[in-house]
Amino acid sequence: MNPLAAILVRDMRIAVRVGGGALMGVLFFLVVVTLTPFAIGPDLALLKRIGPAILWLAALLASLLALDRMFAADHDDGSLDLILMGRAPLELVVAVKGIAHWLTTGLPLVLAAPLIGLFLNLDAPAEAALVLTLLVGTPALTFIGLIGAAIAVTLRRGGLLLAVIVLPLTVPVLIFGVAAANAAVIGPVPFGTPFTILCALTLASLVVGPFAAAAALRQEME
């Protein structure tokens, strides 16, 4: 088997097994979004207006949940030592781990979003736009998160530091993700403008994330 395929299969297998945390993100997402109408009250117009922002915030926090163990688990059990001795470039290994993480935590969020959007009084076109922004934007959250996960790998309570490092970096993704979703719901800005910038942010993070994370891992292993 190809080394990168082996990593992908292993990480996805671990994520869906007991204690893997693949479902944890979706459940967290569901809980946060469900709580919002209770907190705000039955004001349908308000819910519709802030709905996309709530869903995006919940997706952002949910995608952080399982991120801190991504490299820390491999570091703690010695797997990272062996991964560094493999013939596959570390940058690609990191990218594949990011893809596996997105497939098991990001993609379920995207799939759950239409259902959860109903709680926030979103109509069909708004939901379609929202799902599209999440589909394009959540990979950026994962790949920016890779950098934080790699920096926090040797720390005991890395999860807290991870949030502090990663959340500020995700601000542009959040702004343009919500702006694109809002443009589709309430206008008057055209959907395409913020959506294109969101796509650009994701493409940039797909390139920068693995290189930065691999550099951080190499630095820490020495």
Partner: protein, 215 residues
């Protein structure tokens, strides 16, 4: 194939872990690294494969694949077993075989070589310390790499498993591989060199024919 080190120094956390270490190991030879706790045995092994930064010195590998680094031709058996508790023994092993791009995947044969064939489907979480150790040793069998770096390979192994490990090491040496092992106890190999890290300047003692009894 010949792995030689010239005047290696390692400086970590404000102190010299070891200094002026030189050795040379050829195909079919084993180098046993001996020293008290904290003498730098593990750091030396990790330094050879670049997991610890060596502050000075030169490592050369003659007769290896020039396209690959030393680490890429080496198996490292460290203190940690690199196993995922939620995956079964066979899944753990086939992951490493896949990751190291083994041309043929003889997972069952490798598990059999360490006596774990009957536990192939059991999650690694349920294995004992010695069984986990044997499962990581199976990795060395499943993927062929000419250099073995073993850090206390016999710890947690029972007498029978130690004997089996000795057999695997002898077979590896006979097929032209080389071994560097850090150990406290006898390792039961016939042709070994010893590298002592205790003294002020570490020295190489040639030791043909192990006087220690086989375990």
């Amino acid at each position: 194939m010949r792995l030689s080190a010239d005047d290696l120094h390692c400086h970590r956390g404000g102190r010299d872990v070891f200094a002026g270490v030189s050795f040379a190991v050829g195909s079919g030879e084993a180098l046993i690294v001996i020293g008290r706790n904290g003498a730098g045995k593990s750091s030396l092994l990790r330094g050879v494969i670049g997991l610890v930064r060596l502050s000075q010195g030169r490592l050369t590998l003659e007769g290896g694949d020039p396209e690959l680094t030393i680490a890429e031709q080496t198996h490292y058996l460290g203190h940690q077993d690199a196993l995922k508790p939620s995956l079964s023994a066979a899944e753990n092993l086939s992951f490493w075989a896949g990751f190291f791009d083994a041309p043929s995947l003889d997972i069952h044969g490798a598990l059999d070589a360490v006596g774990l064939a009957s536990l192939a489907g059991l999650p690694a979480a349920y294995l004992s310390a010695g069984q986990r150790r044997r499962l990581s040793i199976a990795r060395l069998i499943a993927v062929k790499r000419p250099i073995w770096l073993l850090d206390e390979p016999t710890s947690t192994l029972d007498v029978a498993a130690q004997g089996r490990l000795t057999g695997l090491m002898q077979a590896h040496l006979a097929s032209g591989g080389l071994i560097m092992a850090a150990t406290h106890g006898p390792i039961g190999l016939a042709k070994t060199q010893e590298l002592r890290l205790d003294q002020a300047s570490p020295s190489l003692a040639q030791d043909q024919g192990d006087e220690q009894e086989k375990p």
